[in-house]
């Protein structure tokens, strides 16, 4: 248990200590219950490097739950789940977190801090520089709004900031939950820009959406979640 050795505090840390995985996501016979409620069952899913996958399904089907599993926010109740070579049931999942990008329904930003402060924090804990922060904000078109606190920004501006964060952090797996919602016409290309970026680095992307027409243009493979499992 690496975490129990206090010596780690004094040393530096290797985020990528696992061997490069042949597959980015590997789920085998995974089930998830939340409390007593079964949400997902019999899930088998493999996503390899360079893949962009679309995930569709009705409201409450379990799409967000699956993304949260892959983002290490939930643990599988049973089955074997591996992301970037790290077992999602074990403690090792904490170490791949910084390599997995996630944009969910609710913006994960500190409401009191400005957009720049939010990104600067993300940069500081992941070893990126301040220059990258400004570059990312400029990419998403928020350079002029960088010093506005998040709670004084529109919903779309908050989502754009999350895209800026992911562009800056360069994850190897990006999970996008309804990425087009709240982005205006000019910004909607951010989605493909981000997935292209990740894929170009040998990563993979998983996109959840209800707008099949629009998203199927971006993905190489589509999955349907129905009855708690992939159809």
């Amino acid at each position: 248990m690496a975490g129990l050795s206090a010596g780690r505090l004094l040393s530096t840390r290797t985020l990528c200590s696992v061997a490069p995985a042949s597959q980015i996501v590997e789920l085998r016979d995974v089930a998830i219950r939340i409390g007593a409620t079964p949400v997902l069952r019999d899930l088998d899913l493999t996503i390899g490097p360079g893949e962009v996958v679309g995930l569709f399904g009705g409201n409450g089907a379990g799409k967000t739950t699956l993304l949260r599993l892959l983002a290490t926010q939930l643990r599988p109740t049973s089955g074997s789940a591996t992301v970037l070579g790290s077992d999602l049931a074990g403690e090792g999942r904490l170490d791949v977190r910084s390599r997995i990008g996630f944009i969910g329904h609710t913006p994960a930003l500190y409401p009191e801090l400005t957009l720049r402060e939010n990104l600067a924090f993300a940069a500081a804990v992941t070893g990126h520089s301040g220059g990258e922060v400004d570059a990312a904000l400029a990419t998403v078109g928020l350079a002029a709004a960088a010093d506005r606190p998040v709670n004084a920004c529109s919903y779309g501006m908050q989502r754009r900031t999350e895209f800026a964060r992911e562009l800056m952090l360069e994850p190897e797996l990006i999970l996008l939950d309804e990425p087009h919602s709240a982005l205006d016409v000019a910004a909607s290309d951010l989605v493909s820009h981000l997935t292209d970026d990740v894929v170009a680095r040998g990563g993979a992307a998983l996109l959840v959406s209800h707008d099949r027409e629009r998203v199927e243009k971006l993905v190489g493979r589509s999955l349907d979640l129905r009855g708690g499992t992939l159809a």
Binding site: G3, T12, R93, T106, V125, R201
Partner: protein, 225 residues
Amino acid sequence: MSTQVALWPQIRAVAGRDLLRERRRGEVTWVTLPFGAIALLLIPLAIGIDAPTLRNIGPGLYWIVVLLFGVLVTVRRTGAASDADSALSARLGIDPGAAFIGKSLANLGLLLAFQIVVGAVAVVLYDIPLDRWPWLFVIIPAAGVGLALLGTLAGSIAAGSGGSNLVPFLVAPLAIPLLLGATQALDADLSDGNGILAWVLLMLFVDLVLAVVGVLTARPLQETQ
């Protein structure tokens, strides 16, 4: 694609974030701190005692207020993990130990400010004699460190499922030695520095235990959130 991130920048970033959020919100400055001072003022009104007694039990009352409100400082809203908050920590993969230390440092800063301001109020209100004031430079930080660590620990336990209900049960037992050390160290009955020293050492021991336990359990606690 391996990224090497030293822990010290992470610690600094976490502490800085917490202090900045508090500065923007002003929860401690504008709510907890005034309430603490007001509590000091109300207590003698409620128990209706005279000045000499007050001078005697004043330090005890001060420490009680520091303890009770100190816990509030450390579990304040900006420090508490909201949904978006924990999603973000999960996203960034901050080292749990570094996060623990960073948050504790921020808490310590706020607590020291609280202790000093409320302490000044207590000295004025209760006319507490400060014969052994140099000791305060050890006792106040020692108590602050302990409470800060305790609060951070309580916060991360509360962040998990079903855990928040138990924070009081956890804080109390660990707070007792801190409280005891702080009050006894300033007790008027102790005539020599040795007596004080023993209590200060007790506090430092508790601080050390809390720091070690906090860092070592940070990972398992984070993992079960």
